[in-house]
Symmetry: D2
Subunit: 303 residues, 4 copies
C-alpha cells in the first residue's frame, strides 16, 4: 500500500513459493530486495541475486529467513537455490549489529550466539498475529485432508477440535461454516464460555474420555500426548484423526494403527496449501515489524 | 428408523461403495435384499446374492439401479461384480409390471421400451430432493478440488458461482461458510433477490463479461457453453475454473488451456467424495419413493 | 446508478416514509417526480406537488401507488397528505392507456375495471423478487418482536419456523446467524432437503404435533389455520408465537390466550421497521419493472 | 445436572427475575436455599424466607449477592423485597469466616473491611467466563436497540464495533450472522488478525478517524472517552451510536446531540433482556465456583 519500506534493503534468504509472492509485495512498499538462494527461480524483476549469504549480510539493513527456520546444523532450505545456504556462527559474526534477523523460529544455540554478538532475532512464527493469520491456510489444509481421508461429508458430521487456541478456533469456525456439528475441547473456563457463544458444544478435557466416542473426525492441536492409548480405545474405529500439533504430534500413531483408526500428522501446511495467500500474509505483517526494529535499533544507537 | 419396508424384497443391482452403505440401512427398515453384481464385495450379512439379473427380476418387488444409470448399451457398472450386468430389452420384458424400476437416469430408448411394456421407471437423479441432498457431497468435492488447484486460500478469496440452482446454492453457502467473498450469477430476479438475502454479491448473467475479471475461483453449474471464448478472454490468467455442468460442461476447455487458465471438469462427485454419506442420503429418500410406487401400483391393480 | 429513467415522469401517490427514501433514488436515476399527497412532507427538492390524483394522471408516464394498496373503498393512505386520495372508477377512466399503474396489491374490483379500460396494473407485492427483498426487514422485525416478548436469548434457543417460503427461509437464516437451534417445517420434499443443507432440523408438517412441544419461539408464515387447538395443546405454555401470515394469521389467538401462551400477529413490518432500507429496495426493483412496461406498451402501440 | 451442591445451604440475597430462574436450578443440584428479600415474590417451593440479612448469615454456608452489586451505601436492590437490604460493616462482621460471599462486584471499602475480617469475596462479574456468557444477552440487547433506533435493516448495513473484547466479539459475531458488513476496531495486532479470520474488516484505532465516516451503526465497548468531539465530527449525522461501556460510557453524548447524532447508553442489559437465560447462565457457573471456595476454605481450616 504505502511506501513505508522506501530505501530499506532487505535480504530474502532461502524459502519457497511463499517468498515469490512476498518479494513483489515488499517491493511495492518501496523495499530494495536482495535474493539469496534464488538462482533457479523464475525471473524476479528488480531483485539483486547474491549467492553467498556471508557476502549478503553486509549489503542490507534487514535479513528475512523462512518461516520454517533452519535444521539443526543451520541449513536453510531454499527451493530455488543452487548451493546450500547455511546460517552458522561465522555468518552470525559477520552480521552488523544494526541488522535485525527475522526467522520463523530459531534453535536455542543460534539464539545464544546471536545474543552474545548483540544481534536481534525476531522469531516470527511465535508472534500471535502471524500464528493467527497462518491458522487460516492451516485450517483449510486440514479440512482438505479430512475431505480426502473420510467417506463422509464434513457437512452434517460430528467433528471434535482438541485445543481452542490460535489454530483450534479457526478450524472450529470453518467446520461450522461448512455445516458440521462441532465440539470444542478446552481446559480454561473462558475458552469453554466462548465456545458456547460460537455455537460449539463445549467439553472440558476432563470429560474427553466420555465424549470422544461420538466423534467422526478429530482434529488435535495440543502438543502433548493427549490421544494416548486410554483415549484411543474410546475412539470409533472408523473415525479419522488429523494431528496438527508440532512433531511428534499428540497422537499415539502406532496404537491408532493397531486399532485400525486412520490417523495422520499434518505437516507445516500454510506454505504447501496456499503459498500465495501465505506470502501475502507475511507481506502484511513484516513491514511494521521491520520498521519497529529499525527504529528501536537506530534510537538505541543514537542515544 | 421405522420398519416401513418390512416384507418388501428389493434387488440392488450393480453400483459402488454407496450401495454398501445403502443396503444395511434398507435392511434396518425391514427390507429383504437381493444383491445382483456383488460377487467380489465384502461380506453382506443377510443379503442373497444372485448373479443373473434376468433371474433376479422375478424374485423381488422393486429394482434399484445405480445413480449413474447405464451406458448406451445398457451396461450397469458394478464395482463388485464378476460378470457384466446388462439392462436390455430382454430384461425389461422379463420384469413383472407390478415391479417398479428405480434408476438415476435412463436413456430415452430404455424409457420407451419400458413404457410400451407398462414398466414404471423412476429416475431418481432428476428428483429435486435427491439432487439437493446430493449437492452437499458435490459441493464438498469441488471445494476440495479448488483447495488442491489454487495457490490461495478460499478464505478471503473472490469466488464466483455461475447458476444458482440446486447445486449452485449449496456451493455458495459453503464458500461463504469458509470465509470467501462470493458472487452469485443468475438470470431470474427472485434468485438474485435471494442471493442478496444470503449475503452474496448478486450479478445478472448479462453483466458477466464485466464482472468475471475479478474472480479468483469460478464454479460453473450451468449446462450450456457459458464460459466461451468471449468470456474466457476476461478471466484472470491465474484464476481457476471448476465446471460441474454435465459432460461436456459449460467451458471451452481448449481455449482456456490456450490462455493458460486452469480449468477442470468435476466428475460425478457424490459417490467418489463421500460414498457413506451418499448411501445414507439414498436410504433416507428411497423408502418413501418405494412405498408410494408400491401403493399406487397395487391400487391401480385393485381397481 | 445509471440514468435509466431519464425523461420519464413518475407520479408517486400516497405512501409513507418509504416513499421519502424512494423518491430521491428514482431522481438519481433520471426520473422526474410528481408527488400526490405530500403536502405535509419535509421539503422534497425537485418534486412537483399536485394535490389532485385526477389531475396528476394526465401529467405522467407511470403511476406508483404504495405497497399496502388501498382499502376497500379505494382510499390510499398518505402519511403526508392533507386531503384524502381515492383510487376509484373515475380515476381509472381518466388514466391514459399508455400509463401503467404499479401498486402493492389491488382489490379484484379494481382489477376488473382496469382490465376493461385497458389499463395495466402491476401488483408489486406479488412479485417474487420484491417479496424476497421485503422478507429481510420483515425477518428483522419479527426477531425484534421475539427479543421483546421472550425472557430468553434467541442464541441457544429452540426456534421453529412454520413454512419455508420467501419469508420463512430468511427468518430461518437469520435465527441461525444469531445462534439459535432452528427447526424448519415444510410440506415439500425439496424444501426439507434444502433445510437439511442449510443446517436446520427438517420436519414435515405431518410430524408437527409431535415436534412442536420442544419449541421455545415459533414463527408462523403459513396463511392457513395451522396453529389450531389440537396443535396449540402441544405447545409449551411459556413458548412465544409470532404469526406473520396475512390477517387473520394462522393461529387460534383466543385459544392460545386461554392456554396462557403469548401469541402475537406481526403487522406489515417492512415499512415500520426499516423504511429507509425498504425504500431503497423498491428503488432497486422499480426501474427495471417500469422500463419493461413502457417498452412493451410502446411496442404494442407501434405495431 | 448432578447433585453437586447436596447439603450446601445458600442464601440468595436480593436481586431480580434472574434469581427466580437461578434458584430452582440450584435446588435441582441439591442446594438448600434461603431467600433474603423475597417477601413479594411468586411462590418459591422449598425456599426458606428470612427477612433479616443479619440473621441469615449464620444459617448458611454461602452468600449469593446480585450481579449488579450494591450502591455506595451498601443497599442491595431486591425487586421482590419488602424491606431494604443493606450490606454494611455490621453484616460483614457477623459473617462467619467459613462463609464465602459471591457478588457481581464490590466497592473498594467493602472489600477492605471484608479482607480485615478474613471474609472471602468473589466478584463474579469480573470472571472471564461469566462476562463472556453474559455478553450473549448483552449483544442481543444492543442489537434489539439498534433495530429500534435505526430506519435501516442491520442486514446489509455498515456496522462498526469499537473494542474486540469479551462483549465486542459477541456483538460482531451476531451482526455478521444477521448479514451486516462489520468492521472491528482494536489496538492489538492479534485481535486484528483474529478479526480478519472472522471475516470482519479489521481497523486499528489509529485509523478510526478516517474509517468511522462510513459506519451506519456504531457499537462502543471501550470504557474510555473514545467517541470524543474530534471523532464525532467524522460520524455520519444519520448514524446511530450505542454505547455499552460502563457508565458514563465512552461517548460525548452532549456533543453527539448537538450534531444531531442519535447516541444511547445501553444499561446493564442481561438481566432486563433475558432474565431466564441469564439466571441459567449463573446456575451453570456458580456450582463450580462455590465448590472450589468451600473446598479451599475447609482445607485451609483443616490444616
Amino acid at each position: 500500500m504505502s511506501a513505508g519500506l522506501k530505501g530499506i534493503r532487505l535480504a530474502v534468504v532461502g524459502g519457497d513459493d511463499r517468498e515469490l509472492y512476498l518479494i513483489p509485495e515488499l517491493q511495492k512498499q518501496g523495499a530494495y530486495i536482495v535474493g539469496v538462494g534464488y538462482e533457479k527461480a523464475p525471473p524476479l524483476p528488480g531483485v539483486t541475486l547474491i549467492s553467498s549469504l556471508l557476502e549478503a549480510v553486509n549489503e542490507v539493513d534487514v535479513l528475512l529467513f523462512p518461516m520454517f527456520g533452519t535444521d539443526e546444523r543451520g541449513n536453510v532450505k531454499g527451493k530455488y537455490a543452487d548451493l546450500p545456504i547455511i546460517l552458522n556462527k561465522d555468518v552470525i559474526q559477520a552480521i552488523p549489529t544494526r541488522v535485525p534477523l527475522f526467522i520463523g523460529w530459531a534453535w536455542p544455540a543460534l539464539k545464544s550466539i546471536a545474543e552474545m554478538k548483540g544481534i536481534r532475532i525476531v522469531e516470527t512464527a511465535l508472534l500471535n498475529e502471524v500464528a493467527i493469520l497462518n491458522s487460516i491456510p492451516s485450517a483449510e489444509g486440514v479440512i482438505q485432508m479430512a475431505m480426502e481421508l473420510t467417506l463422509i461429508t464434513i457437512h452434517g458430521s460430528q467433528c471434535m477440535v482438541l485445543g481452542l487456541g490460535r489454530t483450534g478456533w479457526t478450524i472450529a469456525h470453518m467446520l461450522k461454516g461448512i455445516g458440521a456439528n462441532v465440539t470444542g475441547v478446552a481446559r480454561k473456563a473462558p475458552d469453554l464460555a466462548r465456545a458456547v457463544e460460537m455455537g460449539l458444544k463445549a467439553v472440558h478435557f476432563s470429560e474427553l474420555e466420555e465424549e470422544i466416542g461420538s466423534a467422526e473426525i478429530i482434529f488435535n492441536t495440543v502438543p502433548y500426548p493427549i490421544l494416548d492409548r486410554v483415549i484411543l480405545e474410546k475412539v470409533a474405529r472408523d473415525a479419522v484423526i488429523i494431528d496438527l500439533a508440532s512433531i511428534p504430534g499428540g497422537t499415539d500413531f502406532e496404537y491408532a494403527q493397531m486399532l485400525g483408526i486412520k490417523a495422520k500428522l499434518a505437516p507445516g501446511l500454510p506454505g504447501i496449501v496456499a503459498p500465495k495467500t501465505t506470502g501475502k500474509i507475511l507481506a502484511q505483517v513484516y513491514p511494521q515489524l521491520i520498521l519497529r526494529q529499525l527504529t528501536t535499533i537506530n534510537t538505541s544507537i543514537d542515544s
